[in-house]
């Protein structure tokens, strides 16, 4: 059974002041196996963000369903949805989404505190996680005292500390310089090797080239996909570029 199964997703937005409808997703289907590292690419307006929002259970599809471990996410009641997200999903955002009123440590603890975890257990989990992400020396600092790359690693720590089934990353390298981008992608690669499933939405060919599989979305549909197979990152980068060029040329 695949970890994530997306079946015939369709999303239509109706704007509040007009009857005009916008079709963000027309028919999206794909599956993600446990331990996979999948990147989703597409131009602005292709429906990436809508897709991610639905996967994150922040939004409901007009049609179709999303199964996590065979359980339908679209059928979860509103009341339980937050708990479901906390337990099963971890999020990494482009703009980090760290709270400036919390220290780095407290930011990482946030989802655990919301799940009513006991302090000693939280601390234990952090002690294992922090060295891996190279943020042990930052724990007592505040978000405004650290760099963008460091912030994103903290955000990754916050996503990982609940040991989620799936990490959803939305343009995680979007606000980072090249050095920090490399560091972050290495980290993603590392945690994926340890068995963490990752689904990343990105613009960046470089970020996508680290993934095992790349899905291309256009006009609300999965247009194409590339498997890494035995390709190196460089070869993968080339394949992605070729595909993007093809899409840009409008071919099929």
């Amino acid at each position: 059974m695949p970890l994530l199964e997306v079946k015939n997703l369709k999303k239509i937005y109706t704007t509040r002041f007009s009857s005009q409808q916008v079709q963000a997703l027309s028919n999206v289907s794909f599956t993600v196996e446990k331990g996979e590292y999948v990147a989703i690419m597409g131009e602005s307006g292709s429906g990436k963000t809508t897709l991610l929002n639905i996967l994150a259970s922040l939004d409901k599809p007009t049609q179709g369903e999303v199964l996590l471990n065979g359980k339908s996410m679209t059928a979860i009641k509103e009341k339980e949805i937050s708990e479901f997200r906390r337990k099963n999903l971890g999020f990494v955002f482009q703009d980090f989404n760290l709270l400036d009123t919390f220290s780095v440590k407290d930011n990482i603890f946030l989802p655990l505190v919301l799940s009513k975890e006991a302090y000693p257990i939280m601390k234990q989990k952090l002690n294992i996680l922090a060295p891996k992400l190279g943020i042990s020396h930052l724990l007592e600092k505040y978000p405004y005292e650290i760099s963008g790359g460091q912030k994103q690693r903290v955000a990754v720590a916050r996503a990982l500390i609940t040991q989620p089934q799936l990490i959803l990353a939305d343009e995680p390298t979007g606000a980072l310089d090249s050095k920090s981008t490399d560091q972050l992608l290495d980290i993603f690669h590392e945690i994926n090797k340890e068995g963490q499933t990752i689904l990343m939405v990105t613009h960046s060919t470089k970020a996508a080239s680290f993934a095992n599989r790349v899905l291309f979305i256009r006009d609300g549909m999965v247009f194409h996909q590339i498997y890494r197979g035995n390709q190196t990152n460089e070869q993968m980068y080339q394949s992605i570029s070729d595909t993007l060029t093809l899409i840009a040329a409008g071919g099929k």
């Binding site: 922040l58 937050s82 999020f91 989404n97 709270l99 407290d106 603890f109 946030l110 405004y144």
Partner: protein
Amino acid sequence: MKKFFYSRLALSNIKKNAKVYFPYLITSSFTVMMFYVIYSLSQNSGLRESSSTAPIVLSLGTWVIMIFSIIFIFYLNSFLMKRRKKEIGLYNILGMEKKHVMIMLFYETLCILLISLLSGIVLGGLFSQLMCLILVNLCHLNTLISFEMPIQAILLTIIVYGCIYLVTYLFNIVQVKMNNPIELLKGEQFGEREPQSKWLLAIIGIMTLGAGYALAQLIEDPLDALAWFFVAVILVIIGTYCLFTAGSIVLLKSLKKNKHYYYHTKHFISVSQMVYRMKQNAVGLASICILCTCILVMLSSTVTLYFGIDNTVSATMDSDYLMTLYSHEDEQIPSKEDMSQFVQQMKAELQKEGVETSQFVYKTVYENVVQLNNDEIINEHGDVGLTIMLLDDYNQAYQQNIRLKDNEILAGCRNYEISKALTVNDKNYTVRSHVDHPLLFDGGFSEKKLFIVVKDETCLKDFYPEGQLIIPTERISISFASDEKKANQVINHFLEQTWSSDSTNQLKEFGYQHTSRYEERNGLLDAYGSLFFLGIYLGVQFLMAAILIMYYKQLSEGYEDQKRFEILQNVGMSKKEVKQVIHSQVMIFFFLPLMTAVIHMIFASKMIIKMFGYIIIGDAHLFLLCTLISIVVLALLYTVTYVLTARVYYKIVKN
């Protein structure tokens, strides 16, 4: 063209920031109006003629409003400038020189000043008549209310507020000059540093507040209470500001250190957010608290004074009218015959004029000033006013039928305690029973007074040093069954005639004094009525200020919290949980200033009651009732405004 450019830019800036500037303009106009109204009332010719205290009280109020305006407008201005730093930085970067920003700010300030002055003075002109009407009714004055718009008041208002705004403008210029554009641009964004625990300030806060409370509780003497009240007020104000700013952060940070408490779903977010919230808003909250306390103290005490007038008057006077005949030490005592003749004349005069009396008592009272030392009267000049009556007189005057033995007395005292026995000139007297009479209030409420009824003149001599002439004062107490005002006029007229130069009356050589409930009440109505008016007037002004501070607080917090709550939802907090967190924070910041104000008031009430001992009698219950009502009224108004301003906050956060 260029000239109009800046004024137009200034106007459009104000319009664009309407959410912030509109309430500011309203409050500023309101404050100008309040100042104009109270100043023009204090200058009102009608009031000046008919009232002796109202103009004084009103000019006091003018000062209070002026000083308050300075502080308040400065506070608002600095709040507005903080919010606009980014905008000003942007102007700099877009190529406006600082000089141009200053010109723009000048036009803005001018615009606000003109609008405030114009609307304030026009509204003030309209309202001053209504206010005058209210004041005249409260004080029971006989004045014809004329519409006045004194040019002097208009000029002073313009000068005062012109100066205040000029200084705020200069203050803003200095700020613009000192900052560089990048800093201005980032002004709001810079992640706020977590506040430090300021232990020293917190300890100072605890100590000053404790000292203020202790003063309020420990002082027993009314005069001391009066003298120390303002010290206590200042201590409590300092304590409140210190505790709100430093104490709260010390407390929250120590909560944060307690891992088991802090890392709990319910406390985690609230505690960490409140640390920042207190850093930014402590001064505002403390100000709201102080304003609320001021409102409570002013309202409860002025209302008590006003509604306690009847109690005070009847507690201090036996009868509706009291005339006292006194003689100088070297002069003779009026003879019994002359006195009774005079009394007869007076009765006849009253009858002739159709004034009916329900009581007409003539009594002789002996007065002396002595020292009291543990139930021993020492016949030296001291601090205790001693009033003595002979038993026969007393029985007759108060319609009693008491018999006393040679060594027995009746006694009453005020601001002093006596036991069952008194010693004087080595002679022991037993206090048969304690009595309480308005006579005890002669000569002021704060004095120590002792009232004694002795059996006869032999006993009386014991209370005077040997050889000293014993000179009584003769008192005539009258109560009326008919119209008080007319009766007063009749008697006063009669007394004037009797003491006029062509009168043949023997008593002319003695001095006389007269008081009446009617006059006393009118005097008190005038004084306390204007205080009552001022209490409510300032109460409204302070409430307005508290509302605006609250509104701005909600506004600025709303924008900050918007992003925070969005993140919390992204991280897996449900909408319901977010709502709960918002709600509990809103409630804490709602109750904190109000509850503190109520606690201040509870501690202050003892001292205020003590002070009232000096000016008002037996009104502790009335005061407590008035305090309770004031608290309820304030809490209601506060809740309404809070609900309204909280709506602004919720709207921003929900977006």
